[in-house]
């Protein structure tokens, strides 16, 4: 287990480097446009040249990257072109909202996906068909469209939940959750159906395994078989899918935070895109990559915890 984790952790570093280089190359190699983009079409050549100098855009790209990476290692991701505020402090201010959304969504995906999948594996028939229909909807329909449908149903037609806005957790857990109900539903629908489908298939497979018959034949009760053996065996492949759902929930915040006007990293990403504030966007990209890598690491750990073949190999 420990060697496996070390191997995975060692892989994280090149991963972050490659991802940031790609992001950086994309962001910096476009000739000249960055300074012009900031200053607009009417800027004089002199002012553009001055800005290029100031941003270090005249340096070769690898030198720009090196400068950026060296300060990034020290926890400095540069400053916003737009406001001059350090990128790190901007991200820190926005992080709690997105973290709340992604975390709650992942919990919902896990809880709802696993229980729906198990239910459908056991009951089959009607539950299975409903799940199929809902999952097609949840998977195919873009999350922002679902979000808008949710708003029009539960915030406008029937006024149960707030249509927009965020309440920090410091103001109480109740209001915090209340404000996040609709966004979390919109973010977790797709992942929930993915996990539920996987869970149904693997639970059906587990139910047909010889060891289930063996346990039954030797007197172990259905509840133990289900919550202990079937659940654990079926959870192993579902964990990977849960990881995919968690990452999808994270990147989905780009759309969802805009629909619900939540001050998180997702809405920040669109805002800085409109402002051409590339250092901030780069910072968000690196942060999202980091979170995605952490999620995949957690998935690997859970996988190893559940599957002794991986752990003891």
């Amino acid at each position: 287990m420990i060697p496996m984790l070390v191997r995975r952790l060692v892989l994280v570093i090149p991963m972050i480097i490659v991802v940031s280089v790609i992001m950086f190359v994309l962001a910096s190699l476009v000739p000249g446009d960055q300074a012009r983009a900031i200053l607009g079409e009417t800027a004089t050549p002199e002012s553009i040249a001055a800005l290029r100098e100031q941003l270090g855009l005249n340096l070769p790209w690898y030198q720009q990257y090196l400068n950026w990476a060296l300060s990034a290692v020290r926890g400095d991701l540069g400053a916003s072109i737009y406001s001059g505020e350090p990128v790190v402090s901007i991200l820190a201010g926005r992080f709690p909202v997105t973290a709340s959304l992604a975390l709650l969504s992942t919990l919902v995906i896990a809880a709802a996906g696993i229980s729906l999948g198990l239910l459908s594996a056991l009951r089959g028939g009607a539950v299975g068909r409903v799940l199929d229909a809902v999952s097609l909807f949840g998977l195919a329909v873009p999350s922002f469209a679902i979000a808008i449908l949710l708003v029009s149903l539960f915030a406008v037609t029937v006024r149960i939940f707030p249509a927009t806005g965020y309440t920090p957790i410091e103001n109480g857990v109740g209001p915090w959750v209340w404000a996040l109900v609709l966004p979390v539903i919109a973010l977790s629908l797709g992942g929930t159906t993915l996990v539920a489908k996987q869970m149904r298939d693997s639970a059906k497979e587990a139910l047909n395994k010889d060891f289930v018959r063996f346990l039954r034949a030797n007197g172990v009760g259905e509840t133990s078989i289900l919550v202990r053996h079937v659940l654990k065996n079926a959870a192993i492949p579902s964990i990977t899918i849960l990881g995919i759902g968690a990452v999808a929930a994270l990147t989905g915040t780009v759309f969802i935070e805009n629909v619900f006007v939540l001050p998180g990293l997702g809405s920040l990403a669109t805002q800085v895109t409109l402002n051409h504030d590339l250092p901030v966007l780069l910072g968000i990209g690196v942060l999202f990559t980091l979170i995605a890598v952490v999620i995949s690491l957690v998935v690997d750990v859970l996988y190893g915890v559940l599957n002794p073949k991986v752990r003891t190999a």
Binding site: Q34, A37, S224, L278, P308
Partner: protein
Amino acid sequence: MTSRQGSPRVIASNRRSLFVDVLRKPMGAVSIAYLLVVITMSLMAPVLATHNPLTQNLDSVRLTPSAEYWLGTDALGRDIYSRLLYGGQESLLGVAQALIVALVLAVPIGIAAGYFGGWFDWLVMRSIDISLAIPGIIVTLAVLAIFQNSMFAAMVVYGVLVSASAARVIRSVVLGVREELYMDSARTTGLANAQILVRHVLPRTLGVIIVQAAMLGAIALGVQTGLAFLGFGPQPPAPTWGGMVGEASSMLQYFSWMIVPTSGIIVLTTLAFGLLGDAVRDANAERIERPVRGARRSAIRPAADAMTTAADDVPDETVLPADETALLSVRDLTVAFGAGENEVVVLDRVGFDIRKGETVGLVGESGSGKTVTAMAVLGLLAEGGRVVSGQIWFDGVDISGYTRRQYRALRGTKMAMISQEPMVALDPTFRIGFQIAEVVRAQHKVSWRAARRRALELLEAVRLPNPQEVAKLYPHQVSGGMAQRIAIAIALAGRPQLLVADEPTTALDVTVQAEILDLLRALQNRLGMAILFVTHDWGVVADICDHAVVMYAGQVVERTTVERAFGDPLHPYSQALQRSNPHDAPKGIALPTIGGMVPPAGRWPIGCHFAPRCALATEACRDGRIPLVSVQEDHAARCIRIDAARVAREEALEVAR
């Protein structure tokens, strides 16, 4: 029993095109038709639009549908229908751009990686791993920021980013195709790699590629409309689907109609992509699994009908009353799977006894019904199976009608089971000690600590050295023989009176087989339990059993003591089985085999089930139900040619000498 023999057949030549198969599925046809209509209408927007999409009419703002404005008007009085037509051009073009880029990258890379393998595959897979960690939507936003809000650039880059996951799926399919038989032969006949790829790999991968394309289409449309919704891409007043949803959502409070057609078109179109993908996947899976046509179905249908009449109420003359001294008395047990039209009888009036402490062998080929019989005794018939008639007397009580709960109380404590594949009988995710303790606790209300102590005792009882160490291991860390000992330990946890052993030695090495049989014998002597031993191996019957019950095609064809079963087998099937037993066959002579196969349930012949394979069969054998004839005490056979069979056997033995 079901006849799921043979692996899915692969057809290299595609007689009917995948396209036709997809069209035959309602969902496939509807989604293709819908997508064609949407694409055509968008392309023909200049012709089909009823209004100029940009013309404002401030006298008619926020209208619901009417004859003039089919889908109503927006906040500036522009016709929603016409704007949706023009907006579709932008959205569908974006989808096409992302799709083309993604496929142009993913198809060759995925196919090459899967086909050539080696370092190239390694490199591709690592790159894919890394690119999957890139937050695609953030990079796409960066592109929008740099390329002056160009939706074209954004969709192209997004296509690059999503190509990784598609390439991975395609690679794994190609990997499978490469392993298949016809590929090997194609390779040896000297086709060039390029030819193999185009002729064999691409056609087999096409279905998966289309499924991926449909899924990517749905995702790309979501991203394209999502970005437009966020205000990227063409700016107002240019119509875009996403932008119109944005307008609609901003006036949701006072004009909620507009959200219906605008988000509706996006929802329907993404659903169409999703459904198309599902339909292609289903059609593709069916093509791969579809066997050669007409090969099996038509076989011997009338026999099934004959069977049901034969099994009807004619009492079997040899049905004895339950033996009161027996621990288990199975009487007239008939089991069927399915219901109504599809009902298939798999056990036909099976009967036998097991006394306390005795071992009875249930012998037969696969398909004879021996395992179904054992499972029926345990109350563990597979889904769809049920006892139609007959009784299972256990310790003086008929348990055939027991409920699940009643059976549960019986299993473990009164009867227990060990099975054929010890390695898969144990849950791979729990430690061995835990699994034994769990069974102990299922039967006795004891603490976990006490259960674990008992688990160690049980491991010792099955002669495993170092029980402490073994308890800490996982199933994959022990050998097959150890696993079977552990399974026996679990079965013994509740001190059962009857142990059902379903081919417990079949999967093991010969030396391990002997050890397990020794162990079972020793445990039986010590604990006095009876064993129902399901096997196809006459050697095992000779080794451990007191009585033998021979089964063929759902019926007991002979039952007697082991001595008589070997010394004077009466049924031609029992005789043939013993002749084909490798254990005591004379060396140098080809082992005689029984021609033909056990007929599957539902296609049993009228009359003697064995008649089609029997050298002695006469017209009378095929004529009606053959009764089980008691020749003497403790010996009965289901045969009307017993005398002829005896003579034939004597002659055969003579020749062998």
